[in-house]
Amino acid sequence: MERVLKIENLRTYFHMDEGVARAVDGVSLSVEKKRTLGLVGESGCGKSITALSILRLVPSPPGRIAGGSITLAGEDILSLPEVRMRDIRGKLASMIFQEPMTSLNPVFTIGNQVEEAVRMHTQMTGKGARRIALEYLAKVGIPAAHERMGQYPHQLSGGMKQRVMIAMALCLKPALLIADEPTTALDVTIQAGILRLMKDMQEETESAILLITHDLGVIAEMADDVAVMYAGKIVETGPCEEIFTSFLHPYTEGLFQSLPGRTPRGQKLYTIAGNVPSALQFQKACCRFNPRCPLAIERCRVEEPPLVVIGPAHRCACWVRAGEGPL
């Protein structure tokens, strides 16, 4: 299998007046061609910062990629000059964001914006770029794409805008598509259409997808593999089916148990005690979940658990559940 993205021990820190926020602290993951990796976690766990790091879009200062390596289609992203990054963004890897309302430029027509992506990265101009833009707008299911090309973002509904974003992101067949909460702002019925479209388009462009979401339903529908993030670290990772049926980490367990759909009516929902910590409060040399963990033992408070192999491709970082791994 062809590996498109490989992140190793990525650390992205923010230097604030209040101290250093270790938003991403030692994350490793990889995505293969035509496959979808779901990155799950609650707000503030560092999943979006991981995505921005891949495209080197972390606002700096205060942000800084403090260490680790990112290899995207053979390119060592962290050592490239900024000029080269402009070629990579949009061509090798592109991104769609949560807010389709604010990620399109309100003063340009949508046709213009999709064309721009083509013109920036290929030799094509005028007619050629226009043809590709039209082709992709039609492919993503914009009705009467030819007329719609001349319209401005405010004339489109939220779902349609997200379709335009997808057309823009995929018209150059990037090796990697990063989708950061692509359907969170949309209704379920619109979400269904967008998810379906992402899958169909993946078949065609053969892109790898890094799908970031907090919605486990979206993950169940879309992902081949899953990585669960908590407080800047990956706590559990494995094939989608295995994570859903035999999750091991107490945090993953908490996420699943607290879903209202899994608890019968009239019964109390399982809750994870406490609150999601802010990145400034992430502690060192311990399991970061220990203050909220019902299973925490002394070791969890003083030593960080490693991500150990507990099954084929299934790894988990927990002293109680996974320990030091099979010897």
């Binding site: 609650e42 707000s43 509904s157 779902g159 349609m160 209704d187 379920v188 019925t189 619109i190 979400q191 269904a192 259409g193 998810l195 379906r196 907090h214 919605d215 486990l216 339903g217 979206v218 993950i219 169940a220 529908e221 992902a223 989608c240 089916e241 859903f244 049926t245 908490g254 996420l255 607290s258 879903l259 209202p260 759909g261 899994r262 608890t263 009516r265 109390k268 929902l269 399982y270 809750t271 994870i272 609150n275 999601v276």
Partner: protein, 316 residues
């Protein structure tokens, strides 16, 4: 019957031009009826723009409805003046979606919670404030702090404490958990359920997340473009959804089991505009089972089973 809403209508005028002449109406809510018993929870679901929040706002009379009646313990409050509403406000309170925008950043938490009883003329009691903080699971010390010092889930607890401070019997919860993380969402749902049994509250629970509504609601009303398409007891609705819109809505929810991937089936087309909506069934333009009859005249409700109502010609 605690609350009975009959044929509620809320039309917003569209004004254009120099003289701001009314050129048409957005029919945000067009003939919605439901009733809620003491201690009961009615879930109101639908996509954004279907009018569910407007229904909630009419029920607490933040909006004055264009037509229809809202009977609270037998009294119609739909057209009462703001002054006459004070007594009703004691009975009915609201919890808002956005825990960041709905708390005054310049007031301390105890000021926020004490404000309601003060307005009702009960005076301020620090004892009552700390009792309320305790009920919603916040520490006493929280009272002297400001909203920005709290996380989303804690702010929602403050919003709930404010709502129950005047001892209401009815709460309109407008998407109270949709801005929260999964693990925090569960805490707030549990809190709302606890309060319901402790204070024997009735809820109108407005939400778009069907799994949350399925958990908390006794009965569910499904709205589409200003009208209720189907209403049934929760389990009945999930077992036998009869309206094609309800069916489409349910089939677009991703299952939580990767082995059961159904391949999502999006509803074709886009919803019609609530400005000058089409006659007949408002779902007709997207309905897979549409018949010529659907596009004509008024579609009434059919009672298909105990407390199960459907607005669809196929069920006649």
């Amino acid at each position: 019957m605690m609350l009975e809403v009959k044929d509620l209508k809320m039309y917003f005028p569209i004004k254009r031009g120099l003289l701001r002449r009314t050129i048409g109406y957005v029919e945000a809510v067009d003939g919605v009826s439901f009733s809620i018993d003491r201690g009961e929870t009615l879930g109101l679901v639908g996509e954004s723009g279907c009018g569910k929040t407007t229904v909630g706002k009419c029920v607490v009379r933040l909006l004055r409805p264009t037509g229809g009646s809202i009977l609270s313990d037998g009294h119609d409050i739909a057209s009462l003046s703001t002054k006459a509403l004070k007594a009703y406000r004691r009975k009915t309170q609201m919890v808002f979606q956005d825990p960041f925008g709905s708390l005054n950043p310049r007031m301390t938490v105890s000021d926020i919670i004490a404000e309601g009883p003060v307005i009702m003329g009960e005076g301020r009691s620090e004892e009552r404030v700390s009792e309320l903080l305790d009920i919603v699971g916040l520490s006493k010390e929280a009272g002297s702090r400001y909203p920005h010092e709290f996380s989303g889930g804690q702010r929602q607890r403050i919003g709930i404490a404010r709502a129950v401070a005047v001892n209401p019997s009815f709460l309109v919860c407008d998407e109270p958990v949709s801005a929260l993380d999964v693990s925090i969402q569960a805490q707030i749902i549990n809190l709302l359920e606890d309060l319901q049994s402790k204070l024997s509250l009735s809820y109108l629970f407005v939400a778009h997340d069907l799994s949350v509504v399925r958990h908390i609601a006794d009965r569910i009303s499904v709205m589409y473009i200003g009208q209720v398409m189907e209403e049934a007891p929760t389990e009945e609705l999930f077992a036998h959804p009869l309206h094609p819109y309800t069916q489409a809505l349910f089939s677009s929810i991703p299952s939580l089991d990767p082995r059961m991937r159904r391949g999502l089936n999006p509803i074709p087309g886009e919803p019609p505009s609530p400005v000058d909506p089409p006659p007949g069934c408002r779902f007709a333009s997207r309905c897979p089972k549409v018949t010529p009859q659907c596009r004509e005249g008024k579609i009434g409700y059919v009672n298909v089973a105990d407390r199960h109502w459907v607005r669809c010609v196929l069920c006649y």
